[in-house]
Structures are given as structure tokens and as C-alpha cells.
Amino acid sequence: MTDGPVLTCDGLLKRYGDRLAVDGVGFTVSEGECYGLLGPNGAGKTTTISMICGLVPCDAGSVWVAGRSINARSVAAKAAIGYVPQEVALYPELSAAENLRFFGRLYGLSGAELARRVGEVLETVGLTDRAGDRIEGYSGGMKRRANIAAGLLNHPRLLVLDEPTVGVDPQSRNSILETVESLRSAGLAVLYTTHYMEEAERLCDRIGIIDGGKLVAEGTRRQLVDLVGGRDRVRVAADGDLAAFAQRCRALPGVESAEDVGDAVELVAADGRRVLRPLIEAADACGVEMWSVEVAEPDLEAVFLSLTGRELRD
């Protein structure tokens, strides 16, 4: 429909009293892209999202979604956004289907179209067979899935999820992540906040690290890792003359160190994936038989620590 990013926000600023909850945050999210906002409790994730969804007026900055400006007075422009709040915002006394029909009406759907769409989103989050049950009887994971379903009713171009996996069992969590992955593949622009770095690593094409209301770094996982000079660790399990193999590895370009640890050789490299092919050639040359190769990239936890001097989770 429109060229360029689905979401553009710039210079977002929100003050509560003398506290700056959000301080100059700006980023873009394109079609088919998942952007992760990663930060600890109180970092300003929800406040940022609230400004993007027009739920809180900005003290400064601007938000554009699908080519339309969004602010706290916007009404029609919100049709392009699917918002999944941090807390489950559904009527506990009503069934999932009733809740979805209700929100569908708020998105302007009615009649056959509404019924069809409710069926589709229930299918998407895997709640079709429990659609008639009251929300209050749902497990935490099911509630969160229903909460997500409500944000999909309007075929949003931008899907905003605020920590959708908090307090959810691993199975539901996995199902939620899979849902988000498939929605992204279907072309939605996804803005995903979390304080779980594993989720950000798995889902997000780009990640913004937010702390104390400021976006302290932004980029792909790789870019963030490089930013703090991170090194990959490569572990090669093998049989044969491992000492000779280790020595040969040390000579390879990009390898900083290699050590024989008995049943394996452990290497440190700037980019683990780049050294895989030379490693195999080196093993052949030494007559070493490789069993397995593991590449461990430095995680975002380490990145966060080095950027903010604090742990991601308190």
C-alpha cells in the first residue's frame, strides 16, 4: 500500500512529573519485519508503545503508522494498529468468542464478516475448540492467546505486542512465538517488547535496547554483538590428533585462539560461522574426524550488560 516503513516514530518523549519515562526514542518497523524493544522493568517499553498506539499523548515527537499520523486524539488512524496490551484486557465473564465479537465491532466489523474474522483469529491462536468458554476459566497461556487474537481482528498492518509471554507456561509461550513468527512471515510489521532476550533473539529481525527511557543501541543481533566487540565461541568435538588440529586452527584467519580440551577443540573467533569451512579443511588435513560443531554467539545479555552496566533482569 505505502512504500517505506509501516511504523515510523521519532523523538518520542514522555514526562511523568520530573521523571522522563521515555526520552527521545525513535525507530522504524517495515512490512514483514519484527522489531524487538528489549529492556528491563520500568525501561519505558509500555510508555513508548502507548504513545505509538495513541493511548498516551507525547510530550514531544511524532508517530506515523501506515502513512497516517497518530496521536492521542486519533480515532480512524488506529484502524491500522493491532494492540496486544501487557495485561489481559478481556471481559472475564464473557467467552472468548463474545469478547472477540465485541472487539470486532469496535474495529467496525459486523455480520458475516465479523463471524468469519472471529473464526479466523481463533484458529490462528489455536482456541477454536474453547471459543465458547468464559475467559475467567482459561489458563494464563490461553488468556494471553485470546488477548493476541483480539489484536488481529482488524487485519492490522502494525501488530504491537507488549510482553505477550509474561507468566505463561513454556508450551503456550512457544505457541505464541510461533504465531508471531507466522504473522511476520505473512507480512505484518511487528513491534514486540520483552525483557526475555531469548525471545528477542529468536523472533526479532532488529532489536532496540531501551534503558531508562533511552534507546541505547539498535540493530540486528549481529550488529549489536559487534558493537560491543563480542566474539563467538566454537567447539569442535573430534577424534584424532587434537593438539595438531588446535595448532593448525590457530593459524586460520579470524581465529583468535584454539585449545585442545581432551575430546574437543575450543576456538574463539570474531565470526564463528565464517571459520566453519576452513575448520573442516583443517580437520581433513590433520586426519581428524569431526563429530559435531557448536557455534555459541555472545548473547544479548552480554550486550546489555556491557551497554548499560546492568543485568537485563533484576
Binding site: S50, C53, G54, L55, V56, P57, A72, V75, A76, A77, K78, A79, I81, Y83, P85, E87, V88, A89, L90, Y91, P92, E93, L94, E98, F102, F103, R105, L106, Y107, G108, A150, N154
Partner: protein, 387 residues
Amino acid sequence: MTGDQLRRAAAIALANLRRVGGDRRVYFGALVLPMMIMLLVGGVFGAGKKIVVGVVDEDHSALSARAVALLARSDQVSVRTVHDAGAVKRSVRRNLLLAGVVIPAGYGARLLAGGGATVTAVYDVGQPQAEDARAQLSNVLATQGAEIAAARYALATRGVPLATGLGRAEAMTNAAFAADRNSKVQSPSPYAYTAPSNVVLFTFVVALTGSAGFVQSRRLGLTRRMLSTPTSTGAVMLGEAVPLVVAAVVEALLLVVVGWVILRVDWGNPLGVIVLVVLAALAAAGGGMLLGTLARSPEQAGAIGIPAAIGMGMLGGCMWSLDIVGPAMRTVGHLFPTAWAMDGYVALVFRHAGLAAIGWDVAALAVFAVVLLSAGALMLRRTVTPR
């Protein structure tokens, strides 16, 4: 507001009503309970119950017997003969009798001689019907006074013997009484007071406790979630406020119908009833909106709402008539919409007043409705508007 937004407001209102409708406790609190109260209170203190008056006749004359007969003739009084004045006072004190009358020895002779006689009456002023008993008694004494005056006049001007003149005068008042009784409309249902009382009381109970839903919408983040859709602030406010008005109106109309069909209450002017129902519901809904925005939790809304409704009901005359309280309490009562609503219903039911006759009550209720709804809307706007 555009049709689009009105449809959204309707969806919000329906969701709110549906969620309340699924709760069985609501049916007990809003239907069974008020009906039980109406039946109980109406059955025990019904206006149709006769006032039991103890009479001590120390005179034993034809005239004292006539006075007792006049008193017994009244629809509202049942006379019980007691033998001494001390016993009458004790019985009234113990609430065995509502009132007592002592006719002193020499009563008849003094009246016939053209003099006065002192009849002692004992009442418990704390009883709502004491006033009725007093009125009945003075009515009796006035009637008998007129009969004697007529007989003495006939004696003085025409020389008709006193006993003959008295007999004629008594026959005339008896005939007038019979005519009056024939033309008299049916006496009010024993539920005539308790039915409107409960209509007013439960209008406020429903609207004030209904505010808990408001608090819940806010606390669950539903209000915020609604605003993330293309729904305007006005539509959200309307969708949250309308169910309170609807619930209060439906409650009041249901109780009016129950009173009418089951308890045979004659409500009087239908337009007057509708106006009172709607205005009281609007005032109550305004109060509910205020409470809903001020309360921190649904429990708090209930914990404040119920006693507030009952308190306003008490002060407004839903538990006992404001006719029996002092002028200060009556004034205090009229600081609340309940008193004006009750005044309106009492005029419609007991005096068969028309809409014009309850104009002041209607106007006062309308002022309450406007003030409370505006204050409620203002507060609601503050809680709904993004900050």
C-alpha cells in the same frame, strides 16, 4: 457523534449489560430482594391495617356512647373497650394500642348544658399512624359538637326538645356518612407506600452498585484497550454510562409493574410515574458514574454504593414517611433526590395528583439528574482521556 461511533457505544453498552446479566446474584439483589421487602413491609405495616384505639368510657351516657360509635364507624379505626385510664396509658406505652381515649364522667351532661368537656387522648408520637388516630378523634369530636350545637339551636329557635333535635341531627350525619362511604374510592393497597419506597431505593441501589462494572473496566485495562481501536473517547463514555441508566430504569419499571400487577398498587398518573422513574434513574446513574470514577476497586464501589443508597433512602423517606420526622430532618432529606422522588410518588399514589401537581418534585429531580450526570461525565472523561 457519528453513527459509526454510536454503534461502537452500543456495542460497549451491550457487552457491559451482558456481563452483568450473566451474574445470578444480580437477579437476587435487584429482583427477589426488593420484592421480598415490599411484601414483608407492606404486610406488616400496611396502610390498610386499622388503628387500634383503646377507649375508656367513664361517663356511660348516651352522648359518650355516640362518641364511641362515631369513632368505631371510621374505616381506619378499630375500637377496643378498656376499663380504666391507667391501663390505656400502659398499653399505649407498650405498643399494644396505638392510641387511647378517656371520656370523663359528666361528659354528656356538660355538653348538653352548652359547656365544654376535656377528653384525654394518649398517643405514641413515634408511630406513623398516631397522626391519623389524632385526626380521626378530632373529627369525631367535631361531628358530635356540631350535632349538639344543631340540637340546641333547634331548641332555642323552634322549641324542639333537646333529645328529639339531637336524634334528628344524628340521623343527618349518619346519612351523610353513608353517602360519603358509597362515593368513596377503594382504600389504597397496603403496599401503596412500600412499593414506591422500594422503587426509589432500588433505583439507587442498582445504579450505585452498577458502578462496580465501571471500575472493573478501568482496572482490567478494557477502557484503554477500547481506545486502541478506532473508538472515540465519547463513545467509550457513552457505552459505559448508558448501562447504568438502562439498569436503573428497567429496575424501577419492573418494580412498578410488580406493584401494580401483583400488589394491586394504583400508581395514579402513568405519565407522572414514567417521568419520576426516568429522572430518578438519571440522577442515580449520575451518582453511579461519580462513584465508579472515584472508587479504587469494584469491591469498594459496592461497599460504598449499598450503604449510600440505603442512607439516601432513609433520609428520603423510603423507610418511613417524612411526614413523621421533624422539619430539620425533612429539610435534610430533601438534600437528596430520593426525598423528591418519594414526594412525587406519594402525591401520585395517595392524592391521585396529575403531572402538574408534582411539578416541583419533577423539577428538583431534574436538577439532581443534570448536576449528577454532568459531574459524573466530567469525572469519567478525566479517567478515560489519555494522559
